[in-house]
């Protein structure tokens, strides 16, 4: 068993206020700073900015497509730069290490969500159980 290679970088955007609001509705975090122009300006920001947890969610989407939704055991996120309407985000990941724990083969990965400026919006570290190779892929490989 070995860890599948990371998928190509995933580009999302330009991101919009609608993306932020949709995430807010889904998550239940209705902080107005992420959708109310007047509120954001009164707080000293030029416009509303994204919910950090949305970018974290995008990284989780990339990671679970790569390693499997049922295999996640740890997902840790650190918020860095804010994300603004019009930004284009790029999500990518790398393998840190592979090891045995609790009778399972595990892999630690690092995931990064960058803005078009190159600035890092969110970094995540995740642990997954190494996915079993699917019979289809095995067959395709042999063929």
């Amino acid at each position: 068993m070995s860890v599948p290679p990371p998928p190509p970088p995933w580009v999302v955007g330009p991101v919009t206020r609608t993306d932020f609001v949709r995430y807010q509705g889904a998550s239940g975090d209705m902080n107005p700073i992420h959708h109310d122009e007047e509120f954001a300006r009164a707080a000293g920001f030029p416009t509303p900015f994204s919910v950090g947890m949305w970018q974290a969610g995008l990284l989780s989407t990339y990671a679970t497509d790569w390693l499997g939704a049922e295999n996640v055991r740890l997902f840790r996120v650190r918020f860095k730069e804010q994300v603004w309407p019009g930004d284009t985000l790029t999500c990518e990941g790398t393998v840190l290490r592979e090891y045995d724990q609790d009778g399972e083969r595990r892999v630690d990965v690092e995931l990064t969500c960058r803005r078009q400026t190159g600035g890092v919006a969110v970094t995540a570290w995740a642990t997954f159980v190494v996915p079993e190779p699917s019979p289809d892929k095995e067959a395709a490989h042999v063929a």
Binding site: R22, A26, A43, T61, A69, L74, R78, F79, K80
Partner: protein, 153 residues
Amino acid sequence: MVNHHAVGTRGAPFEMDIERGKIREFARAIRSTNPAYFGERPVIPPTFLTTTFFWQEGDADPWPAVELDQKRGLHAEQEYTFFGPPPRAGTRLRCQSYISEIYTKQGRRGGELTFAVMVTEFRDETGRLVAQAKLTGVETAKPPTDEQPTERS
């Protein structure tokens, strides 16, 4: 100002039902098309437990005890641990939060940063611990501008 005496404050236990439609809504919001989230009895996405927003109210939420200044407060880190495959739709989780830690650090550009950590434990119907969430909030010395402060250890 953060109230350092908040450490150890526990919220009242609360329930959270993991629902198929909510998983679908959440997965769409994070642009996922993974079939694992759209089937008959889907697992939750890694950050889905943030939807405790809909379940943890009143005295179930110990976070206000931290008294973090909202104007200077930011979400610094968030962590989810799963002790096995993530819970699936149809599971009723029994949950409880507590304030585990409050500490200060010097920021990169001067000024003191105060970090507060809230842990939430999620147990299934049998009482087994299935997941744990850890929220780290930070209060900056000044209102944040373009860049959020990050924790440096």
